[in-house]
């Protein structure tokens, strides 16, 4: 377990050459991403539509419960649409950066050369993933909108007062804050994991998009199914599923993908 013995140098990640290479300091490792970036307006359009349909809908159950949420709903509506669109864009673009990452290195014979440098394998993989994701330019705006939504949602819950135990304010706010970034991270991680097994760039990307659509649909369906099934049993608390379940699902799925990736990298560790 050479990679483990060598340890991690997370603090040095920002100056790690592999991380910087992914960001484009040395050459441009992601020409396909650049071509795809030209289509951003076309990608944002369905994102905005999805946002218009999806984001406010997530808040709708609360408006039924309390009139106070109607104000929150209106306040959150536009930033929420933009946040949904940005998340959609990130989820779409992240695999374009990562789905060719490891497979291409292995196929082109550069993987062995990188492994012979003093960089531990786990750091190489982490640097490639995080460096590729850092190339997305949407993070500052995404984090700002996530914060805005989380704060507004937290405030809404506090204003709802007796409807919910105050205990739930923290997980709902945190969940709302984390979910957009987590979704994009998960999509990038999925792309990288798929690229270990599916070496053709196009196939890897297509497989990743297919899995993303399946997973997102499953999470969305599961949230609403649980809401409808438990609203009678749990009362108002049943309405919390759409807020908590997706974040938990993405967290679990990310942990699972990290385990799968580590398994796939086992021969080189």
């Amino acid at each position: 377990m050479n990679g483990l013995r060598a340890g991690f140098h997370w603090r040095q990640l920002a100056t790690n050459p592999i991380y910087l290479r992914e960001k484009g300091v040395w050459g441009n490792p992601h020409p396909f991403y650049d071509r795809l970036a030209l289509l951003v307006p076309l990608i944002l359009l369905p994102g905005l539509l999805l946002g218009l349909c999806g984001a406010p809908a997530g808040l709708l159950p609360l408006t039924v419960i309390s009139e106070l949420f109607i104000g929150v709903y209106c306040l959150l509506c536009l930033p929420a649409v933009l946040l949904q669109a940005l998340t959609w864009l990130g989820v779409f673009m992240a695999p374009a950066l990562t789905a060719t990452s490891l497979g291409r290195e292995i196929d082109q014979g550069n993987w062995d050369i990188l492994r012979l440098t003093p960089q531990p394998v786990r750091l190489i993989v982490a640097a490639k993933l995080l460096g590729a994701l850092a190339r997305l330019r949407l993070w500052p705006l995404l984090w700002l909108l996530s914060l805005l939504q989380a704060l507004a949602l937290g405030a809404g819950f506090l204003l709802a007062g007796s409807l919910y135990n105050w205990f739930w304010v923290i997980p709902v706010t945190l969940s709302s804050l984390l979910r957009p970034s987590l979704e994009i991270f998960w999509a990038g991680l999925l792309g990288m994991t798929v690229s270990l097994w599916v070496r053709s760039a196009i196939m890897a990307l297509a497989t990743t998009y297919g899995l993303i659509i399946l997973f997102r649909t499953a999470v969305w369906l599961m949230s609403w199914l649980l809401l409808s099934l438990t609203v009678e049993l749990l009362g108002d608390y049943g309405a919390l599923w759409p807020f908590l379940l997706p974040t938990a699902a993405y967290l679990l799925a990310s942990a699972l993908l990290i385990a799968v990736l580590a398994y796939g990298l086992r021969p080189w560790l």
Partner: protein, 317 residues
């Protein structure tokens, strides 16, 4: 002189297939060792074990005193490896490629620029510094890759088929570069299918077949050791028959091959002689005394191809 590579009882199995079998090999510092053998003989497997990229099934391999299995990081610091199949980052400029790998080897940015210039000058790519790697010819890419292996100033270079797929000019350039590296004091352990190239630059050769080392040593020694008889070529005037008869009458002449059998010119023949230089000299004297019209009389030195064919049996894993 200390040994930079020490291999003892090295075995590698892939399931039922034994790629390497009880390999023993010592390479002294500063040597240039040509590692030859048929396809599937285990050359790349040996090299990948030495570079820590592959774990042996049994046996030990040490590089500069470090075990490849117990101290892989120390081994990696003293070796420069060029695989037989390698990619170069075609989206980078030539200087960026070397700068990136130098950064991966944790060479401080302050010294990297000078180092990149020096390496490019060494491999004669200084004029291509600001061009994209994708615009380089295959030979240039090979030289760039060789420069990359030198980024951290390793003691030992392990090169797997460094001249494969190159045109004659590019092969000569690589050969000259290896000579220069040899003069710089680097130990070079390289495999090749181009035997003339190995013979030109290496001080020793190791011949591997079916995972076993079947011959290893100094080039001249190996040829001497493996030679059981000498091949003598004679150019003559007129008919071959009298000369042939005279040679066959000599007890130390074992066989006489006529020109047609060996694709030689019609005024030449070759014979196997089992004697030393003095006996050979006396034989020549006797032939001249008999009035045979001999124009030239010379010994075939034998090349690496002959040696290779002599010791290998074409067994492939």
């Amino acid at each position: 002189m200390a040994n930079i590579i020490e291999i003892e009882g090295l075995t590698k199995k892939y399931g039922a297939l034994t790629a390497l079998q009880e390999l023993d090999l010592l390479v002294p510092e500063g040597a240039v060792v040509g590692f030859i053998g048929p396809n599937g003989a285990g050359k790349t497997t040996t090299m990948r074990i030495l570079t820590t990229l592959l774990k042996p099934t049994s046996g030990t391999a040490r590089v500069a005193g470090y075990s490849v299995t117990e101290s892989p990081h120390e081994v990696r610091r003293v070796i420069g490896y060029m695989p037989d199949f390698f990619g170069v980052y075609e989206d980078m400029k030539v200087w960026e490629y070397l700068d990136f790998f130098a950064a991966c080897y944790q060479i401080p940015s302050a010294t990297r620029q000078t180092m990149v210039d020096d390496l490019l000058a060494l491999v004669d790519l200084g004029h291509k510094k600001d061009e994209f790697v994708e615009s380089l010819s295959r030979g240039m890419k090979q030289r760039l890759c060789l420069a990359r292996t030198l980024a951290h100033d390793p003691q030992l270079l392990i090169l797997d088929e460094p001249a494969s797929g190159l045109d004659p000019r590019a092969r000569i350039e690589i050969r000259e570069l290896l000579r220069e590296l040899k003069n710089m004091g680097k130990t070079i352990f390289f495999s090749s299918h181009i035997l003339s190239e190995v013979a030109d630059i290496c001080s020793s050769i190791a011949i591997l077949e079916a995972g076993k080392l079947i011959a290893y040593g100094d080039m001249a020694d190996m040829k001497r050791r493996l030679r059981t008889h000498r091949l003598i070529q004679v150019k003559f005037i007129g008919e071959a028959a009298p000369l042939q008869a005279a040679l066959l009458a000599e007890p130390q002449v074992q066989a006489v091959n006529q020109a047609a059998e060996l694709s030689l010119p019609p005024d030449m023949l070759r014979f196997d002689f089992a004697g030393d230089d003095e006996e050979l000299s006396r034989l020549l004297g006797r032939l001249i005394q008999q009035g045979l019209p001999i124009v030239t009389f010379s010994e075939e030195t034998g090349n690496l191809e002959d040696l290779f064919l002599q010791v290998t049996q074409g067994i492939v894993n």
